[in-house]
Structure formats: structure tokens, C-alpha cells
Symmetry: C2
Subunit: 210 residues, 2 copies
DNA sequence: CACCGGTACGTACTGTCGGTATGTCGTAAC
DNA sequence: GTTACGACATACCGACAGTACGTACCGGTG
């Protein structure tokens, strides 16, 4: 007798079906966007009917959330280990930025998470979801820099939002550029410059200008 | 033929009807978003039928573009004169940034232009439209700073995109914050810090020569 | 083995909404 | 007065999200 979990064949089938629906959804949402993707088509690609879809998800938005989570979890693997990697915090933060721009180039991430996420889920719901994913990682990176004294103690939440917005725009620029390689280089240069400007300077200059 | 343009009463009515439709669209798109706004409702608020709507606009997206343009033109008035105002370029640029954040706080601008614009119109079409509006203004401001030597000669297009993205995020943060006054102060502080970091420093930096 | 409860779907239908085709009325030109 | 046309209204179609209900099949119980 099996002492461990007795995963019934039934549940296995069910899980497979659900995964097929999610995969189909990610693909179609990425290609055609939320509005121009029909649930019948999603179901058809997964070789089931709408009945199965509505059994597994609450509706179109529910399916979208599942697709969102799917894309994010896949992304988090790569991103997390880079940021949490060993070495000087400044270096790994920079590496994290570059990695995140890379991630943003993924069509699925860009469309589902960055562009349509806030619109479909509503900004507040999207923010909550992001808390446990990319945004959370980025913020903890910024937090590390502030703690380790690399950044002036700006409000972490706000600064991270600004960075997040800038990086998303950056990725979109690269993705839609006719010459992505050059665009990518330019973007990296600009971002490095911005972040370098934020770095705490040894010379004290409290509210210097004017 | 008449030398003076005789604006017929007919055309006047027509223009009024069109304007009523645009106003109705701006209101409903702002409140419920693009997807959850029905054309019948838009027409009803304008006290006409869908026939009139389709006479004036190519469809739902056409109506959205008109609403987009309406919001942008209203905004441009305030924004343009600030940026093009007299005085030192750095000061007026900073003033422009603050003004733009203010603009972004307008619910209509935030929802129609910032959030749903890229999704509904598609990013490329949105970018083209923005060229003649806020983004264009922001970029010319950045260009001025580079020309006047206040900013290192970073690629203007990219840098402006980054700024644009950061500012939009900033505005969203303020708008959804439970304490908008504090959020606004924090945001201003962060932005000032970022921009200040970008400012060309008179003393040559060890890493950044020239 | 027979029976049964529930899960995992499939099928058929409804309501809403974007879009179209067509009709109508008033104004302006001749 | 007739004609032409612009500015709408009305009626309808097709697509699609969501619902109601039926069904097959698995797993447990006696």
C-alpha cells in the first residue's frame, strides 16, 4: 500500500487539463491581447470546451489571473537567484536591473504583466499581485541598497515604483525598436547613468542647489 | 461665392452633437474604462442614438481616439506654457516635471491617456499620437537641457521614455495613495533626486571623464 | 459486484454589445 | 418646387461572455 499521497488518476487528468488551458491562454493573450481573445478559442486550443474552462476558472478575468501568475512564476526563477546571488550588493543590483530588462523583452511578460495587467485586473489588484512577484524582488533589491548605504535614504516604495515604471518603458522601447541591439545598448547606458546618479556620493551635499 | 464663411446652423448643430458625444465618452471611459463602456450608453448620455455616433466616428476605437485627443489638448494648454516659459532652462524643466505630475493626477488623463491608451490603440499607434502631445513636450524639454549643457548627452529619445514611464508611475502612486499629500511630497522628493542625479556635475567624476 | 455521490467535463442556450444596412427628415442650392 | 445631401434614427446581425443543465466516469461503501 502506498503510504504517501495517492494522487488519483482523476486529479492528474484534471491538473493536466487546467495546465493546458493556462498555456493556451498565455499564448493567445500574448498574441492577440485580452479583448481580442475568445474563450472558445482558448478552450479549442486546449482541446476542451468552454465548460471545462468555466469549471477551472471563475471567468475570463480568472483565467487571465492564472495566466499572469504562470508567466510571473516562470520569470521569478531566473530573476530571484540573480538578485539574491552572492557578492557586493551594488553589483548584484545592477545585474538584477539588466536581468529585469531582459525579462521585460519576453512578449508574454510585456503584454500580460506590464501592459494589460493593470488594465484588466485594475491597478490595485495588479499591484497586490505584483507584490509577490517582480515588483517585490525589485523593491527588496532597492531596500538592500539603502540599508547598505549605497543609496540615500529615499522612500523605498516610491523610488521602486519610479524605477519599475522606467524599466517597463525601457523594455517597451527595446521591444518595438527596429534595431533592438542598439536600443538595448542605449537603454542600458541610460539606466546605468540614472542609477549611478542616484548612488550616494562620498562628498556631502545636503540640498545643495539653488 | 461668399467671402466670409457662413457657418450654417446645420454644421453648428453637427459640431455640438459631436462634442456632446466626445464629452460623454471621456466621462464614461474615465469612470468605467474602455471595455466596460457601451456605445449605447455613450450615445444615451449625449441624448442621441448609436446612429449619430457612427456617423461621426469610425467605431469604438475612433471614439476613443477622439476622447484621447480631447483630454490631451486640454492638458497641453497648461503644460506648454510652463515648459516654454521664460527663465533658466533648468528651472522651467523642473517646473514642467511638477506640472506634468499634476496633469497625471487628473483621472481622465491617467485612465485614457496613460493606462488604456497603449492597450486600446496599440503601443505603436499610441506612441504616434503622443508624439504631438505630452510626450513631445517632455522630449523637447529634455532636448533643451542637453543642448544647454545641463544634462550629459544621453540619447534623448530613450531618456525621455524612461522619464515618461517613471512620471506616469509616480502619478499612479499618488492617485491611489491613501494619503495623496504625503505621497505627492515623497514623489516630488524622489523625482528631484533622480533628476538632480542626472544633472551634469561641474567637477569631473573619476569614472565619468570629460 | 452493485450502487451512489461527486467531480470533470460537454452541450445548448441567453443577453449584451459592437457593427451594419437602410430609412427618414430637414436644410440648402438651383 | 425639386433635387441632393448631410445628419441623424431604427432595425437587425453576428460574436462572444456567461449560465443551466445534462452526462460520463472515477472512487469509495456495503
Amino acid at each position: 500500500m502506498n503510504v504517501v499521497t495517492v494522487r488519483s488518476r482523476r486529479l492528474e487528468y484534471s491538473e493536466t487539463t487546467r495546465q493546458a488551458l493556462v498555456n493556451s491562454a498565455v499564448e493567445l493573450f500574448t498574441r492577440y491581447g485580452y479583448a481580442d481573445t475568445s474563450l472558445d478559442e482558448v478552450a479549442k486550443r486546449a482541446r476542451v470546451t468552454k465548460g471545462a474552462l468555466y469549471h477551472h476558472f471563475s471567468g475570463k478575468r480568472g483565467l487571465f489571473e492564472a495566466a499572469f501568475a504562470e508567466v510571473e512564476t516562470k520569470v521569478m526563477g531566473r530573476l530571484g537567484e540573480i538578485v539574491r546571488g552572492p557578492g557586493d550588493p551594488w553589483e548584484s543590483a545592477i545585474a538584477g536591473l539588466r536581468a529585469y530588462v531582459e525579462v521585460c523583452l519576453e512578449p508574454a511578460y510585456q503584454r500580460i504583466v506590464v501592459h494589460e495587467g493593470p488594465v484588466v485586473l485594475g491597478w490595485e489588484r495588479w499591484r497586490q499581485a505584483e507584490e509577490g512577484f517582480s515588483f517585490g524582488v525589485l523593491r527588496s533589491a532597492v531596500e538592500n541598497l539603502v540599508v547598505s548605504g549605497e543609496l540615500d535614504d529615499l522612500p523605498v516604495e516610491i523610488t521602486t515604483r519610479l524605477l519599475f515604471g522606467a524599466l517597463s518603458s525601457a523594455a517597451t522601447v527595446i521591444a518595438t525598436s527596429p534595431d533592438p541591439r542598439k536600443a538595448s545598448a542605449d537603454v542600458t547606458r541610460s539606466i546605468d547613468r540614472v542609477v549611478e546618479g542616484l548612488r550616494r556620493r562620498p562628498t556631502p551635499d545636503p540640498t545643495d542647489n539653488r
